[in-house]
Symmetry: C2
Subunit: 169 residues, 2 copies
């Protein structure tokens, strides 16, 4: 599997170099609010249930949206570590991520217009086990991962978001 | 339930006005890569499985991280619509969201350093059914939602992210 993955990455890089149009992709989400604050999101064939804890008015049948943001960042870091470790031939036994996002709820609750609604900051730790890798290799790996992790870029830098509103009869 | 929620929101706003320290909260995610690109994230008592589709080297046992970003935004918009419709006394029968994120995979695959790794843009539509609400009320609702939706703020504006790396023996 690692060698298959290495070949897949190299082949994909060649394909995108030669045909940049094939690198243009879109992902989609379709979600609908159910009772209370519970939402069901469909992502291709996958479903995710989102809710708020009781303290925030929900029924706690799933993680809330800002928790999903952290799960997206953690898993994206992990996938990007494994992809580039494989591509660069750096040994990597395991990777896990602990994250914490700090939020001032006065933003969401419209109590203070100077307080942002989203995370003030996100902090955390990537834990790597990589027997046989040198410190230099792991440094190189960290730098390339942080330069190419899609969700890290999405959070750390602005993404233009345009959402229309359609009123249904 | 709507009137309970209205009271919960008003009580929470009063509490945060009088005691801003109680509005400071943290959310956490703990995730670990399993086989291939599959990760399991724990968010309090909730688990989310993340994977990549086969075309990106995974086994497609869950949505991928950038799809989770869209699910977080869609559900956060929905929850924020319901919360502020309730707080403002604006009728809202249903809310659903369709989103699309455009990505140039040359960024993630390190093919072109000028291409960002994350979404180039996110576009979509919020569908509201709100019998009995006036156009002015729905305009007011849209404005307050977009000013206070945490995930919209997280995506549209930069979030400081600091991730340490710990090497395990």
């Amino acid at each position: 599997m690692p060698s298959d993955l290495k070949k897949l990455i190299a082949d994909t890089q060649n394909e995108f170099r030669n045909h940049p149009a094939t690198a243009q992709v879109s992902f989609r989400s379709s979600s609908a609010l159910q009772d209370g604050f519970r939402s069901v999101a469909s992502l291709r064939d996958h479903r995710v249930i989102i809710d708020e804890p009781a303290s925030l008015g929900g029924t706690d049948r799933g993680p809330n949206p800002v928790e999903l943001i952290l799960a997206a960042l953690g898993s994206c870091q992990e996938i990007t570590y494994r992809a580039f470790a494989t591509a660069l031939g750096i040994p990597l036994d395991s990777v896990s991520v602990e994250l914490r996002g700090d939020l001032d709820l006065r933003g969401f609750f419209a109590v203070d217009p100077l307080v942002r609604a989203g995370y003030q900051r996100i902090r955390g730790t990537v834990k790597l086990r990589a027997r046989g890798a040198t410190a230099e290799q792991l440094d190189q790996l960290r730098n390339v991962v942080n330069a190419h992790c899609p969700v890290l870029d999405i959070l750390a830098n602005p993404v233009p978001v345009a959402i229309d509103v359609a009123i249904e009869a």
